[in-house]
């Protein structure tokens, strides 16, 4: 499976997205800490974390005997660059062009064309 497939598969589960939200709220948590605030079994959380780690959405660091989980936003930035930025740019340009056109015409015609004296 390619990097992007792993990433989108990891994001496709509501439980995993919730885990990401938990880490976003408080980064660098151990498994026991994460389990405390989630309505999931310890085993379920462990499995979800493994999928997130494989997709590089979670980075782990050992502090002594404690394994801490960090939300890694870099793949999300890559999704943004690859899948969102390029699609929003033409739309923003279209809106800007529309605004410019409307404003140019608006200034030139304070009254409706039909009522204008020839």
């Amino acid at each position: 499976m390619g990097d992007a497939d792993l990433l989108f598969k990891a994001l496709a589960d509501p439980g995993r997205r919730k885990l990401m939200d938990r880490l976003h709220a408080h980064d660098g948590q151990a498994l026991s800490e994460l389990c405390r605030h989630l309505d999931m079994t310890r085993q379920g959380v462990t499995q979800h974390l493994a999928v997130l780690e494989a997709a590089n959405l979670v980075a782990v660091q050992w502090r002594g005997r404690e394994k801490l989980h960090f939300l890694n936003p870099v793949p999300l930035q890559e999704i943004y660059d690859r899948w969102i930025r390029k699609f929003e740019r033409p739309r923003l340009k279209a809106l800007r062009d529309l605004k410019r056109r409307l404003e140019e015409h608006g200034e030139a015609t304070p009254t409706a064309p039909a009522r204008r004296t020839p």
Partner: protein, 153 residues
């Protein structure tokens, strides 16, 4: 210091390149400015070397010192913000850069930390690092950057 008394972020990206090329990309000023929104870096890249990041006009954004360096595996920079008084007031942070070959790629891990429970500086860099790393990956793998301007500057 316990993790709870410290603010820190960890960023990881896998780049299809070699540790030598990635190390060059992290230390070569002409390379850095391509993915770091025209920021330039002055540093001798030895333990104890002063380290300085400048805007294109030469004004410094951050200063510090190389605390540890082990090419092409690891370096630790003492990192002090210079351009925003409220961030500068938080004092120095520590940025650890680690490279580890994994299959045909290199795992690049950036850990940025400061000895304060809440840090505006760490919040500020947390917006920048993902963009910089995404740009660096794109530049090394495709020869082009994805983002050319820094929204915060």
């Amino acid at each position: 210091m316990k993790a709870a008394h410290r603010s820190h972020f960890v960023y990881v990206t896998f780049i299809r390149t070699t540790p030598a090329k990635l190390w060059e990309a992290l230390t070569e000023p002409q390379f850095i400015r391509q993915y770091w929104f025209n920021t330039t870096v002055e540093c001798g890249w030895k333990k104890g070397s002063p380290w300085k990041m400048n805007r294109p006009d030469g004004s410094p954004t951050d200063t510090g010192e190389i605390l540890e360096i082990d090419p092409p595996r690891r370096m630790v920079i003492r990192w002090q913000n210079e351009w925003k008084p409220e961030l500068k007031a938080e004092g120095p942070s520590r940025c650890t850069i680690e490279l580890e070959p994994v299959d045909s790629a290199v795992k690049l891990t950036i850990t940025h930390e400061i000895d304060r429970p809440v840090s505006e500086f760490i919040k500020a860099v947390s917006g920048g690092w993902p963009r910089i790393l995404s740009n660096l990956k794109s530049l090394l793998e495709t020869g082009e950057v994805a983002i050319t301007s820094h929204p915060g500057h």
